[in-house]
C-alpha cells in the first residue's frame, strides 16, 4: 500500500512527462471502462493533453450520449456532487487527517494505559511525568474509571448470577477501545480536580506504595 505516493508533483522532464501521460491516460480510460461495465453506469471522460489538439474521450465512439444525459440535468443536480481539483484535494486532506487523528489517538491511549499500569506497578510515579503526560494520563484515567464504574454497576445489578460471569463492557470487547470521555462530563473530572487544586493546594495524598505493590 502507498508505494507510489512518493512524488506527486509536476514532471519537469519532458520525456518522462510524455511517457507518464501516455501510460496514465491509458490506465485511466481502462478504469473508466471497468467502472462502467462492472456497475452498469454511464461514464464520460474528457482529457486534453499538451500533445494533441484534439481531446481524448471515453467512450471513444459514444461520449456524446453521456454528455447529453449530463446536459439534461439541472445545474443544481450537476453541482451537488461536482468537485474541482482544489475542492477534491481539500476533501482528501480532511479525510486523511481524520484517519491520522484516529490512529494517533489510539496510540496515545495505549501508551497512557501502559503508563497507568506502570504507576500502579510502582515502576514510576506522577512526580516524574511532564505536563503532557499528566494531562493525557488524567484523561485516560477518567475514561478507565468510567468503565470500572459501569462494570461495578452491571455486576451489582446482576447480583445473584455467578460472580465470574463475563458481562461485555459497553465500550466493546477490547479494553483498549474506550469511549471518549467528553471533557468535563464526569462530576469529578480531571479538569475540575485541577481547578479545585488550584484554589487550595493540598498535600500530596498518601500514595501507598506498599498497598499497591503486591497482588
Amino acid at each position: 500500500m502507498a508505494r507510489n505516493r512518493a512524488k506527486m508533483t509536476f514532471l519537469e522532464n519532458n520525456t518522462s512527462r510524455k511517457a507518464t501521460f501516455r501510460k496514465r491516460k491509458e490506465g485511466l480510460m481502462k478504469k473508466a471502462s471497468e467502472l462502467s461495465i462492472l456497475c452498469g453506469v454511464a461514464v464520460a471522460v474528457i482529457i486534453e493533453g499538451e500533445y494533441s489538439s484534439v481531446p481524448e474521450v471515453f467512450p471513444r465512439e459514444d461520449v456524446g450520449s453521456v454528455i447529453d444525459k449530463w446536459d439534461k440535468l439541472s445545474q443544481a443536480d450537476k453541482d451537488k456532487k461536482m468537485v474541482n481539483h482544489e475542492k477534491y484535494l481539500k476533501q482528501r486532506i480532511e479525510k486523511a487527517k481524520e484517519k491520522l487523528n484516529k490512529v494517533n489517538k489510539e496510540n496515545r491511549e495505549m501508551e497512557m494505559k501502559e503508563l497507568m499500569f506502570d504507576c500502579l506497578r510502582n515502576k514510576t510515579a506522577p512526580c516524574f511525568l511532564g505536563p503532557n503526560e499528566l494531562r493525557d494520563l488524567g484523561v485516560f484515567i477518567d475514561q478507565y474509571i468510567k468503565i470500572l464504574s459501569r462494570r461495578i454497576e452491571t455486576l451489582t445489578n446482576n447480583q445473584g448470577s455467578s460472580s465470574t460471569s463475563v458481562v461485555p463492557a459497553a465500550a466493546g470487547t477490547t479494553s483498549v477501545a474506550m469511549p471518549t470521555a467528553a471533557m468535563g462530563s464526569s462530576s469529578t473530572g480531571f479538569n475540575n480536580m485541577i481547578e479545585e487544586n488550584m484554589n487550595e493546594i493540598p498535600n500530596v495524598k498518601d500514595f501507598d506504595l506498599n498497598r499497591c505493590s503486591e497482588e
Partner: protein, 292 residues
C-alpha cells in the same frame, strides 16, 4: 513442510477481500457489492484524474452516473468549462480558443501545495501505524500480564473491580495534585525564570502571567501543524525502558483552561516539549526523593 502447506490453504480460504484477483468484466450481480464497488472505483478514478493533472498538467473532466441515478463529476479546471470546450470542437469553424491551453501546462500552485500536504499526512499516518504495530508487539512480547488487574475489565469480578477502582481513584488524585503544581506559576511580572533547577521550562522560557506560552506549549493542534509544515518532536522519557513519545495531543485531550485556540494564530511554532527532556535532577522538585 506439510504444516506450511496447511497454513497456506487456510490463509487462502480465509481471504477476506478479492483484491489482486482477476474479476470478470460483466455487470456485477450482487447489489450491495455493486454499490461498494461503485463507490470505491469512482473514488479511485477521481484520484487517478487528480494525479494525471498534477503530474502531467492535463485538463480533465469525468462524469459518472451512480446506480441510483445521482451524478458525480470531477474537473480540472472545472467540469462545465471542459464540457463546453468539448462541445465547441464540433463547430463548423475551428475555435481558436481550443488551442490556447497547449502552452499552459504549468500546474497551479494550490495543486502542488495541497498535494504536498496530502503526502505529508499520508506519510505521517504510515509512521503512526508502524508505531501502533510496535506498541502492540511490545505488549504481546513482554511476559505480562504480571498482575491480574492488567487484564480486560470484563474479566474482573465485583470485588476485584472495586479494589482496582479505589487504586485508580487514588492515582488520579496524585496525578491531579502533580498537574496542579504545574499551574502554580503566577509570578510577579518582573520575575524571570532562569535555568535553575526550579525552572518549569528548561530553556528558561519567559513565563507570561497569562500563561500564554505555556498554553501554546501544552496545546498541540494538528491543524496548525499541517498549516505550518512542522513536525512534532518525538522524544523519550528518561525513566525506565518505557518510551512515551508523547507530544501529540488529540483535540479531545486538550485540557485547555484558556480555551479558544485559534489554529491560525500559532505564531510560536517552538512547540518544543523540552520540559519532557529535563533530566531528573532538574525537574520540578516536590520534596520527595525519586524512587522506584
Amino acid at each position: 513442510m506439510e504444516e506450511n502447506m496447511e497454513r497456506n490453504m487456510e490463509r487462502n480460504m480465509k481471504r477476506k477481500s478479492r483484491g489482486r484477483q482477476k474479476i470478470e468484466m460483466v455487470k456485477m450481480k450482487n447489489e450491495s457489492n455493486l454499490q461498494v464497488t461503485f463507490s470505491k472505483r469512482r473514488s479511485g478514478l477521481f484520484k487517478k484524474a487528480s494525479e494525471l493533472n498534477t503530474l502531467c498538467g492535463a485538463d480533465i473532466a469525468i462524469i459518472v452516473f451512480s446506480p441510483g441515478g445521482k451524478v458525480y463529476s470531477f474537473g480540472h479546471p472545472n467540469v462545465d468549462t471542459m464540457v463546453n470546450r468539448f462541445k465547441n470542437i464540433n463547430q463548423p469553424f475551428p475555435n481558436p480558443n481550443n488551442n490556447m491551453r497547449l502552452s499552459e501546462v504549468q500546474p497551479h500552485t494550490f495543486n502542488l501545495q495541497m498535494n504536498d500536504v496530502l503526502t505529508q499526512v499520508m506519510n505521517d499516518t504510515e509512521i503512526a501505524k508502524k508505531k501502533s504495530e510496535e506498541i502492540r508487539k511490545k505488549r504481546k512480547n513482554s511476559k505480562r500480564p504480571e498482575n491480574w488487574w492488567e487484564n480486560p475489565v470484563e474479566e474482573f469480578d465485583l470485588a476485584q473491580t472495586q479494589e482496582i477502582f479505589v487504586k485508580v481513584e487514588n492515582l488520579k488524585k496524585v496525578v491531579a495534585d502533580e498537574a496542579s503544581k504545574n499551574f502554580q506559576v503566577f509570578p510577579h511580572p518582573n520575575f524571570c525564570v532562569g535555568s535553575s533547577s526550579g525552572a518549569l521550562f528548561r530553556d528558561g522560557g519567559y513565563i507570561n502571567p497569562n500563561l500564554d506560552q505555556y498554553e501554546q506549549r501544552r496545546m498541540f493542534n494538528v491543524n496548525a501543524y499541517y498549516n505550518q509544515n512542522m513536525y512534532p518532536p518525538i522524544y523519550q522519557l528518561p525513566y525506565g525502558n518505557n518510551s512515551y513519545a508523547g507530544g501529540y495531543v488529540p483535540d479531545q485531550y486538550n485540557l485547555n483552561f484558556m480555551h479558544a485556540f485559534n489554529q491560525y494564530q500559532n505564531q510560536n511554532q517552538n512547540l518544543g516539549f523540552k520540559d519532557e527532556g529535563i533530566p531528573e535532577n532538574e525537574r520540578h522538585q516536590d520534596g520527595h526523593p525519586p524512587h522506584f
